[in-house]
Symmetry: C2
Subunit: 372 residues, 2 copies
């Protein structure tokens, strides 16, 4: 019951903040009178995001989170969402919330690898956990506690607030038949996957999602990954990329995060802190369902309407990429002690997951594929 | 944004209920004064369940849901959980909430196939959707609307409130090497899977989870499925079953439901109705993460500490079970028009899911299994 422990901790934090700010009229104990007192104070929060305003799945996922908090609080905590560039640029969301320019930020943790390499474990890891497994690790395998520790020095409390599920391998203007075909390729790929790409001779050009179409069009990029069928169709990447590769070895289950300014969170009454906390879970579930459902339909559209050419990375290519992924991670944990701690927890969970996955989800999916 | 539409509908329902019950002092519009007025009224709800009190995963999942609602409402809506038999027996939860004996019930929809065969689609279908896909169907594929329609005549509003993920094929006291080995087998298996079992000569004995250990011990059952490693270990089924079979063809992603008495839900102010609605999502996510994480560890314990013998249903057996599953469903939709409507929606979603799953989750899991 880790989550319950957090709610308790958040509540205690809220109580101590109140002791400092007497003007809040914060009730120190839950009592029948408490809700009415609390209800007198309302909050208006800003949420900055790394996504184009209302971008399908990611931007609308941030909107959904904000609306959920506003609805559950009966308007006592109103959250307004800002698209990338509206209040701050996409890649400045972390600093903006850390400094208190906004109270919340919605992004992917691997965007902040310049702050700490270990952030990358909290989005996705090449050949790592699926999204269902990552959530298991975060909530019941010690992952959340490590993430909290990593973000605490920045005055941030992180939450998983959505998932794209497994991603696609990306759009390429030439076929990738052997590992050498990555050489000289200018490709967008964030996180650890990008480091693997560099080791096989690619040039990583990291751009926010909103700039990918143009960069593919004007030759800044030869290849790009973004998310999967639903999101890639929304950006029109099938118009600028010839071959659509699977599987998404570099992003097997990407978690979207929402980080909250700790001081702002501690300033909320107990019930609003619980609402913020659990709204994250509700938004996570909603986004995960949306990507699952809409990837299905978008894939059909891409294949039948737009005649997209699907390609599969060969077993040899995947094996090489997996070996290099392992090297990249081992070097990282060698130079960064916090990454080492995270990796120990993550890889232990991965080991156990592999066994259950083989006879569970994978075992079933293979059985289902046998027949109809 | 189906979920948002529901919140809106629920709110409208709340408003019309208020018009009838003037004593509620329900504000007709959101205004700065509204929260304080609402806060004056508190609610105490009962949740009956089909699980032994505090049973790991399922019973504790119901507890988590109740605590989440209580915490987010600041105690304005307190939910008390009753284990199976405490207020009503496991399989009477549906009627109890329908009549208003309790406001909420936590169970599996397939337990109510005596009310309508179509309920079974809302837990799991043999060779059907995974849990991730089922949630996609419910929230973005029209499934929830059909479920709402099915439960409305019983004064109930259903929600997905958890998932066990893929289950196991069950515990058997003899090896199942050919389809004939099911003949004469007394086995517990609810839902459509149980009907398939009967077609291959088994005798279905459906008992609540809490009675399975004893029934296996005293010979009432020769075989039983329950959930998966985490829950099966909790009941000690490894002590009474010799072979542990995979995959769980009959329950590929079982959804746990929470149904709410419609009148009770409509009697809540807007913010509490939103809290109840979104708490379901938060509880869903929590349970899904818990089963994913704890199945991993429990499987390791079963295999290493208890030396459980894993067995895999052969390709021939699975193919036969899949064909019979299809027959069972076709006969059901022939005799039950509502099941036909649900199946049309479900099978369309399944068809699209298969394509994306092959290159997405399954495609990735196979790639990952190649290497380390």
């Amino acid at each position: 019951m880790k989550r319950r422990e957090f709610v308790k901790t958040a509540s205690l934090a809220a109580l101590s903040a109140t002791a400092l700010a007497a003007c809040e009229k914060q009730p120190l104990q839950h009592s029948p009178q408490a809700p009415a007192l609390r209800a007198n104070k309302t909050f208006k929060w800003k949420m900055v995001t790394a996504w184009p305003k209302n971008f399908p799945g990611l931007g609308t996922g941030a909107n959904y989170l904000a609306e959920t908090i506003t609805a559950m609080s009966g308007g006592r905590l109103e959250v307004k969402v800002y698209g990338a560039g509206e209040l701050v640029p996409a890649f400045e969301a972390f600093d903006a919330v850390s400094k208190g320019t906004a109270e919340m930020g919605h992004a992917g943790a691997y965007y902040w690898k310049g702050k700490s390499e270990a952030t990358q474990f909290f989005t996705t890891v090449p050949f790592g956990l699926t999204s269902q497994e990552t959530l298991g690790w975060l909530k019941f395998g010690g992952g959340q506690e490590l993430w909290d520790e990593l973000y605490a020095p920045f005055n941030l409390k992180p939450f998983p607030a959505g998932s794209t599920g497994v991603q696609m391998g990306g759009w390429f203007n030439k076929e990738i038949n052997q590992i050498e075909d990555f050489k000289g390729l200018k490709m967008r790929m964030p996180g650890l996957g990008g480091e693997v790409l560099q080791r096989v001779g690619g040039t990583v050009v990291n751009l926010p999602g909103g700039e990918l179409f143009q960069a593919m069009q004007n030759g800044t990029l030869d290849a790009t990954e973004w998310v999967g069928p639903y999101n890639d169709l929304a950006f029109g990447l099938h118009k600028v990329g010839k071959y659509y590769y699977w599987p998404g070895w570099h992003e097997p289950g990407s978690i979207m995060e929402c980080f909250v300014n700790q001081k702002a969170l501690a300033g909320l009454p107990q019930d609003l802190a619980a609402i913020v906390t659990h709204a994250m879970d509700a938004a996570y579930e909603q986004m995960s369902a949306e990507f699952t459902a809409r990837n299905n339909r978008a894939l059909t559209t891409l294949l039948t309407k737009h005649k997209v050419q699907l390609r599969h990375f060969s077993k040899d290519i995947l094996t090489t990429l997996a070996k290099i992924s392992q090297e990249v991670i081992e070097e990282m944990i060698e130079r960064d002690p916090f990454s080492k701690r995270v990796y120990q927890s993550y890889s232990q969970f991965r080991k156990e997951s592999m066994q259950w996955n083989q006879i569970g989800e994978l075992g079933y999916a293979q059985a289902r594929a046998l027949v109809f």
